[in-house]
């Protein structure tokens, strides 16, 4: 589904990603861990198409398409989803209008008619239940005045609405209390299907108690320095990142 080959990326001339190689197949959950400043969020941003990062080398294939040639909106329409570490507040734009625009633009890309209003409301209701998001939140402006936990739940709600092929969740666990964490993780687990995949970026092992990864990668200094099964997360939890930093 996703093939990243020797990816290098800069911000303002400073190299952050220094040769990432990663392959993700349908049905898999990958966790990317690593200390602060290792390039985790940069990788997520580059995948989503944020312009401030300049890709200097390498390629990314997403279901056979050259991802780097696609605009952020077309990446989304192709089935890529980024759950933001810090979701953006959009005053004045209601959740309903925002989601309706998103769903319809996705449908248009696939040659489908806009969704019927009644079907849309039904879809909203179903997905709200799925991620246990408060109904009142979807009556408000996008993320405006939401608590940290509500914002993260809203990310999962959007993911549920759009049903992406590949979801990248950037530090979705940061700032969550244990109940919110469980709700978010449950949402992700419920959305898991054999034909989709996810990348869970996290700093702590805690989230991985709820979302069990097939693979764990450790990103350090712009490179994946270690990949293994879920047991790697436990090892990290035990030893911290120092043994990675000190080059084993």
């Amino acid at each position: 589904m996703l093939k990243i080959k020797d990816l290098h990326a800069n911000i303002k001339g400073k190299e952050i990603l220094k040769g990432i190689n990663l392959e993700i197949n349908a049905g898999e959950v990958h966790a990317i861990m690593g200390p602060n400043g290792s390039g985790k969020s940069t990788l997520a941003a580059v995948l989503a198409g944020r312009e401030i990062f300049e890709v200097t080398h390498g390629e990314i294939l997403f279901n056979g398409k050259n991802l780097l040639e696609l605009s952020p909106e077309n990446r989304s329409r192709e089935g890529l989803f980024l759950g933001f570490q810090y979701p953006i507040e959009i005053p004045g734009v209601s959740m309903v209008n925002f989601m309706k625009a998103a769903v319809n633009e996705q449908r248009k890309y696939r040659g489908l008619e806009p969704i019927a209003p009644s079907d849309f409301l039904k879809l909203m209701r179903e997905k709200k239940e799925l991620v246990e998001i408060d109904s009142a939140l979807t009556n408000r402006s996008v993320n405006e005045g939401f608590s940290g936990g509500e914002k993260k739940k809203n990310e999962i709600f959007q993911m549920a609405m759009l049903e992406p092929k590949l979801a990248i969740l950037d530090e979705t666990d940061s700032g969550l209390d244990i109940d919110a964490l469980r709700i978010v993780a449950n949402g992700v687990n419920k959305l898991k299907r054999p034909d989709n995949a996810s990348i869970v970026i996290t700093h702590y092992q805690r989230l991985l108690d709820y979302i069990v990864p097939d693979y764990v990668h450790i990103l350090y200094n712009g490179k994946i320095v270690k990949s293994a099964g879920k047991e790697l997360a436990l090892e990290l939890e035990e030893k911290g990142y120092d043994w990675i930093k000190n080059g084993e």
């Binding site: 989503a48 944020r50 312009e51 909106e73 990446r75 329409r77 980024l82 959009i90 004045g92 925002f98």
Partner: protein, 454 residues
């Protein structure tokens, strides 16, 4: 150099007045004639606002009057049935509709309509004959003929306009709609006058729509006087949608008495040059004033909103929110003056002006101006000029929303802050829709109107 022009334009206008004096007064009524002499004298002293006038720093008025403009002192015969060619874009929000054509009330039947509940609306000239005591008591009572040359000019030339009278205790539960139409086969100067009186404990909502129906150049210099008596309540929504070769100079004067509540919402969609002066006097305790404005400008449009909220008495509240989006080479100005007089303790006055500039050529000048002479008050102001939030745009793009659509949603959201203040629900929905269309570039004209005037 500009001084010379000013003198000549001023003299021209004064000459126009003097040489047509018989025509002007013969076609009018004693009540309206009474103020003319001193008004033209004032105008002769004041002239048109020039570059030295701080309040008009960003809007040059003189050149507007140098265009070749026809003036009429009686309604010109225009041979069409207005209903055949015009249906307003905000239909059916109320059944009471007043039409004004080129500044003259256009009666469907009688020149004055009296509703069952006692509310009277119609031609100001007619009202000044039929209800001279009401009109003469309030007409020209609050408009500033001494400090504002354009108002003095209006008072000197005025022939007609709209009169609305809400008797004591009457509560209008549906809005009254005034549609100002401009239509002519020659360039035109129109100067009309509106008078709205709310007696004690009455309430009303009024929607004013300004349209142009032909492509000629129009210059409207309009004065509206609003008297809100104790415990009365008014919501006034003004929609400016004239073509981009037209100029509107609007002067609204509001006199609020004890515990009255007045809300104005000015939505400027089209119009080449718009200057809105809003003057509010909070003249007794317990008054509440809300002044909102939204302007969506592109091409070479120019918008200038000036407001003056005079907190003359204690325990009053004022709220101001003006927001605008300027695209292409559009220019704009906002000047919000709030005066809290020494006795106006416990005043609460809030003001905000937020602007989005979509291009490097668009320009906005904004100036909050608070003068506070009381010591126990709560006041705030804030002005911003910025661009669309790129983070929000990117966020939307990652959900599959295209860049253009994302920007539109952001702009619509920005504008909605003002539109949502409108309490008349069907009207709010219609305005939302018009704003949406305007931002999408689909509102080249009101879509119900077969005339292609803007």
């Amino acid at each position: 150099m500009s001084k010379t022009t000013n003198i000549s334009i001023k003299e021209e206008l004064v000459d126009l007045y003097l040489s047509n004096l018989d025509l002007i007064t013969d076609n009018s009524t004693p009540t309206l004639n009474r103020g003319r002499q001193s008004a033209i004298e004032n105008f002769n002293l004041l002239g048109l606002p020039d570059a030295k006038n701080e309040r008009y720093k960003y809007s040059k008025i003189e050149p507007l009057f140098t265009q070749d403009l026809e003036k009429y002192f009686a309604p010109k015969d225009i041979t069409f049935k207005i209903d055949d060619i015009f249906r307003c874009d905000i239909p059916e929000i109320g059944t009471d509709l007043a039409l004004v054509l080129n500044g003259f009330y256009l009666p469907k039947g009688d020149k004055l309509t009296k509703l069952d509940n006692g509310l009277i609306y119609g031609s100001l000239a007619e009202a000044s004959i039929k209800y001279p005591e009401i009109v003469s008591k309030h007409y020209n009572s609050i408009a500033d003929n001494v400090g504002e040359g354009l108002v003095a000019l209006n008072t000197a030339f005025v022939q007609d306009g709209v009169f609305i009278y809400v008797p004591k205790g009457v509560e209008m539960n549906r809005p009254l709609q005034i549609i100002n139409l401009l239509m002519s086969d020659e360039n035109l100067l129109v100067q009309y006058r509106n008078l709205i009186i709310l007696e004690e404990s009455s309430s009303a909502s009024v929607v004013v729509c300004d349209h142009s129906l032909s492509s000629q150049k129009f210059l409207s210099n309009v004065v509206t006087e609003i008297v809100a008596k104790p415990n009365s309540k008014l919501e006034l929504v003004k929609m400016q949608n004239e073509h981009n070769d037209s100029t509107q100079l609007s002067h609204v004067y509001i006199h609020q008495q004890k515990d009255s509540k007045v809300t104005t919402n000015t939505i400027s969609l089209h119009g080449g040059f718009i200057r809105n002066n809003l003057n509010v006097l909070l003249d007794d305790a317990g008054c509440e004033n809300s002044s909102y404005g939204l302007y969506l400008m592109d091409r070479n449009q120019h918008i200038d909103n000036y407001s003056f909220i005079d907190h003359a008495k204690p325990h009053c509240t004022s709220n101001e929110l003006f927001k605008g989006i300027l695209d292409e080479q559009a220019t704009g100005a906002f000047n919000g003056r709030i005066l809290v007089r020494r006795d106006a303790q416990q005043t609460q006055a809030f003001q905000a002006n937020n602007n989005l500039l979509l291009t490097a050529d668009a320009k906005m000048n904004t100036k909050p101006q608070l003068e506070i002479y009381a010591d126990d008050v709560k006041c705030s102001h804030g002005a911003t000029v910025g661009q669309l939030d790129l983070e929000a745009k990117f966020y939307m793009q990652t959900r599959g929303i295209g860049e253009k659509e994302a920007m539109l949603l952001l702009m619509i959201g920005f504008a909605h802050d003002v539109v949502k203040k409108i309490t008349i629900e069907p009207l709010r929905e219609r305005i939302d829709e018009l704003v949406n269309k305007r931002l999408r570039g689909e509102l080249s004209r009101c879509h119900n109107c077969p005339m292609h005037c803007c």
